[in-house]
């Protein structure tokens, strides 16, 4: 019976103990506050119950007391706030060298694609002990990628990327839920996170991979004709994209932005919005022409040519491109609006 009746969720990520520690701290603090109030209530209720002939003693109030019971809770609240903020900052800051998984949510399934090219639906295989960063977007409404055992959750929005990360600590299978109501089969938008030992994971990874995502992205880059303007050898009509990712970019309107995933995405779908200084607005928009998966692949490609040193970027991407493996990056192209 008790096996079927757990009262505490499993702890399976590095984040989970931090959240649980704060939670337990709060349970103790609020438990003490509750006890204090309840004991006072019950004691007063019993001790000062109505007795014939005994009149209530009128008390006007007490400013020192009011100040005390405003200040002490406030200080306690500030401790909770600070602690909560620290945990949140860690949750929201993916380590730099994380493995990346692209997530596309749609009514009502999760489509996941590893940087190595493995695709999964409603299932995510990850190794123990490695930082995994999820780069997520939605094809339709707002969803939310929630893994209770990891204590992480992040809404997945249409039209932009949101990011969350985790490092699994314990092999096993854990729930994946959509936590933001998304329509009829919202409760069917569930899946499994399979955490494996690294060796097992390597074995799983080697079965049926279709080549790295960045290679897919490179193919799309060529097919869409991006490479005619964004040349890798010299500055073409569009900016040379080598080494751009993660660096600050000077915009035409004087602002400077960091070339992160959302920026690259926006440049593909809405090139006019944040145009790079010194280039003409000649790039057409690819909104509606590329699927979410293809955008993800392009982003992965552009990241890959920035990850290595600019000099050997071309070589890296060339060697990583297994020719002819991938026919079409989009398995269900009909969904492209």
């Amino acid at each position: 019976m008790l096996n079927n009746f757990p009262l505490w969720p499993e702890q399976a990520s590095t984040t989970a103990p931090h959240v649980d520690a704060l939670y337990i701290f709060l349970l103790i603090v609020t438990g003490m506050m509750t006890l204090l109030i309840f004991i006072c209530l019950l004691y007063f209720a019993a001790r000062f119950r109505y007795r014939p002939g005994v009149r209530a003693e009128q008390i006007e109030g007490s400013t020192p007391l009011e100040i005390t019971w405003s200040t002490i809770p406030f200080v306690v609240f500030m401790v909770i706030f600070a602690w909560g903020a620290v945990v949140y900052f860690k949750e929201r800051t993916p380590p730099d060298d994380s493995t990346e998984v692209y997530v596309v949510a749609k009514q009502w399934m999760w489509k996941l694609e590893h940087a190595e090219g493995q695709r999964e639906i409603n299932e995510l295989h990850v190794p123990v002990g490695r930082d995994v960063k999820l780069i997520m977007t939605s094809q339709d409404v707002i969803h939310s990628f929630y893994i209770p055992a990891f204590r992480i959750k992040q809404d997945v929005l249409p039209g932009r990327y949101t990011v969350e990360w985790f490092r699994a600590t314990k092999p096993g299978t854990y729930h994946l839920f959509c936590a933001e109501y998304c329509g009829t089969q919202h409760s069917g938008m569930v899946g499994d996170i399979v955490v494996m030992e690294p060796a097992q994971y390597e074995a799983w990874m080697n079965g049926g991979s279709t080549g790295p995502l960045s290679a897919t992205g490179e193919k799309i880059f060529a097919e869409l004709g991006c490479s005619t303007c964004h040349r890798t050898d010299t500055q073409g009509r569009g900016p040379n994209l080598q080494g751009v990712f993660g660096k600050p970019v000077q915009l035409e309107d004087g602002r400077t932005v960091t070339a992160d995933e959302n920026y690259v995405r926006e440049c593909i779908l809405d090139p006019g919005a944040k145009r790079v200084k010194g280039f003409q607005p000649i790039m057409p928009t690819f909104q509606g022409l590329v699927s979410e998966e293809q955008v993800n692949a392009l982003v992965a490609y552009i990241k890959s040519i920035s990850a290595a040193k600019p000099g050997d970027a071309a070589k890296t991407s060339a060697s990583a491109a297994p020719s002819g493996i991938q026919k079409n990056a989009e398995p269900n192209g009909s969904q492209v609006q």
Binding site: R92, T93, V257, T258, D260
Partner: protein, 97 residues
């Protein structure tokens, strides 16, 4: 709005009226100049001056009316600024590594 026995308010009304028309002309003229980043602030400052004139003199927030009216006006503006300002804390700081 209770005490109307004072001298005629008409000169004030017409002065405010003229000021409002001048303000309108001014803001249209300012819009045709290139003031760099200052076009929007200039336009909104002129608008705010005009709105204040209307509230103070035409709506009698100044002088005749009691403190409570002023409190309502200031309160409404305060909550409007809360809505705009706190929403902007999100939009102005979206970028995060």
């Amino acid at each position: 709005m209770s005490d109307h026995s004072k001298s005629s308010p008409l000169p004030t009304y017409f002065a405010v009226f003229i000021a409002l028309l001048i303000g309108t002309g001014l803001t249209v003229y300012a819009a045709s100049l290139d003031l760099g980043p200052f076009n929007a602030p200039v336009a909104l400052t002129i608008a705010s001056i005009k709105a204040t004139l209307v509230a103070l003199f035409f709506m009698h927030v100044k002088g005749a009316s009691e403190k409570l009216t002023k409190l309502v006006v200031i309160g409404a503006l305060f909550f409007l600024l809360l809505l705009l300002g706190l929403t902007m804390t999100d939009y102005a700081t979206r970028a995060w590594s």
